[in-house]
């Protein structure tokens, strides 16, 4: 996400121009703005555009614009008052932009702190933050870079004596090793010895990427990429492709269809097969990927909105107190950190959701594996675990409800 500043905004971001060059430039721009004040239609590009700001707005066009303008006929009134002017468009809900790029609320007053928080500070030039369609991908890339750095650091790749990492592992290395061991045990417990190893890289990567992405949401200034349906949908698509590819490869076309028909064994089963076919297709192709994607997305976005609501509440509190004390609005700069208790909740939620995503992916893979094969492994495996109590996750025989 890259803040897009207008040229004018950048000029005014220096509250008091210090160098003479800056001063003269700012004055020239203001004069320019004043000259254009009468004829506001120069250039075809208009103001701005809902969510996406394709052209930076220029000063003469920065009149007050509100969400409600359309509804209340203010745009028509404006057009009547300024014949030949560019037609103002809606920027954001309550957002108004003054002539010099400052925020204004609907009545020409300053916006409340919570409103200003969304776009920047009060009385500061408007930092026009474009919600680019690829911002989530940037954050996902950041999560991956973080993950790679963590893994490299944990395996001692940054240490000068790499052999020491083998002999005397650091705490971080031990932690990562126990994590990998845990995922390995889990995958082997559910899928069996051989298949578990085979799917371990996929499941482990899924878990780690989602965990790091989720935890990024707890760092101020970062956004969890998993709070976007695009990213969670892609992750669910990965699981979907792996599950379907496994089914095709392991079962073969005929067994695959037989599996989709609910594995009918007697006449009644075959009579019900078309019904089961429809149900299984909906379940496999729609319900499973969608529920995977929506669960993660909803949890993460819900957590984000909760944080946002409490940040706004803390800022409103400070604003109200400074208003009562006739002080300047400190709420624009500080707020009561009401979110602190929710960080614990966020940690828990992030870990649980990453776990659930990986767990359900494992289960979905297990469900399409040939059953007799799996049982043979499970029996062998179960006995091995009965003897030594490692706290490993035992194999699950019960099918999961669709």
């Amino acid at each position: 996400m890259e803040p897009v500043h207008t040229p004018q905004t950048d000029q005014h971001s220096a509250a008091s121009p210090t160098t003479p060059a800056e001063l003269s430039h700012a004055e020239a721009l203001q004069g320019d703005a004043a000259a254009h004040q009468g004829s506001e239609a120069h250039g075809g590009h208009g103001l701005v555009l809902g969510r996406h700001i394709s052209h930076p707005p220029e000063p003469p066009h920065l009149i007050q614009i509100w969400y409600d303008m359309e509804q209340e006929g203010l745009i028509e009134q404006y057009m009547h008052d300024h014949p030949g002017g560019a037609k103002p468009e809606v920027i954001e809900q309550w957002l108004a932009v003054g002539e010099h790029g400052e925020l204004k609320a609907k009545d020409g007053e300053r916006p409340t702190a919570a409103q200003a928080l969304h776009y920047g500070r009060l009385d500061k030039p408007l930092p026009i933050v474009d919600y680019l369609p690829w911002e989530n991908h940037v954050y996902l890339g950041l999560a991956m870079v973080l993950l790679i750095a963590i893994v490299l650091a944990a395996t001692g790749s940054f240490r000068r004596d790499r052999r020491m990492a083998m002999r005397k592992p650091s705490r971080g290395q031990l932690f990562i090793e126990s994590l990998v061991g845990g995922i390995d045990d889990f995958a082997k417990g559910v899928l069996g010895e051989e298949n578990g190893r085979k799917y371990l890289p996929f499941l482990g990567t899924l878990f780690c990427v989602i965990l790091v992405s989720n935890l990024m949401g707890l760092i101020p200034g970062l956004k969890p990429p998993t709070a976007s349906l695009v990213i969670t949908g892609s992750l669910a698509l990965c699981t979907f492709i792996v599950v379907q590819a496994t089914a095709w490869a392991r079962l073969g076309p005929v067994s695959y269809l037989y599996h989709l028909m609910g594995q009918p064994k007697d006449l009644i089963g075959w009579c019900l097969a078309p019904l089961f076919l429809v149900l299984e297709v909906i379940s496999d192709f729609l319900a499973k990927p969608l529920s995977l994607a929506l669960r993660l997305f909803g949890n993460m976005l819900g957590k984000d909105i909760l944080f946002g609501a409490f940040i706004g509440m803390g800022i409103s509190f400070v604003s109200a107190v400074s208003h009562l004390l006739n002080a300047p609005d400190f709420g624009a700069y500080i707020g009561v950190p009401l979110t602190i208790p929710f960080y614990a909740l966020g940690l828990l939620l992030s870990a649980v959701q990453a776990l659930v995503f990986a767990l359900l992916s494992t289960i979905y893979i297990m469900l399409v594996l040939p059953h007799d094969h799996e049982h043979g492994h499970d029996d062998h495996h179960g006995h091995a675990h009965g003897d030594d109590h490692h706290g490993h996750v035992a194999p699950i025989h019960e099918p999961v409800p669709h």
Binding site: Q93, R295, G298, V356, L359, P401
Partner: protein, 79 residues
């Protein structure tokens, strides 16, 4: 300012969300109670029960999350 439809949605959404949360709470409560009883009866099977419980809870929880998502996706109507 607000149309009747918007007002109706504004009233109905919180109630619907509350009902969804209520149902999910009852479901998860039942699931966890059953799992706890099973764990108390058979401490050896705790890992197995825990995994099954988490899966079940995730399925139940998903329904409440769908209600929440419907608010995210259509919440703009009420503005």
């Amino acid at each position: 300012m607000f149309s009747t439809v918007q007002a109706a949605i504004g009233f109905a959404y919180p109630i619907g969300l509350g009902l969804a949360a209520l149902g999910a709470a009852i479901g998860i409560g039942n699931a966890v109670r059953g799992a706890m009883e099973a764990m108390g009866r058979q401490p050896d099977a705790i890992p197995k029960i825990q995994v099954a419980m988490i899966i079940g809870a995730a399925f139940i929880e998903a329904l409440a999350i769908y209600a929440l998502i419907s608010i995210f996706l259509t919440g703009g109507i009420t503005k």
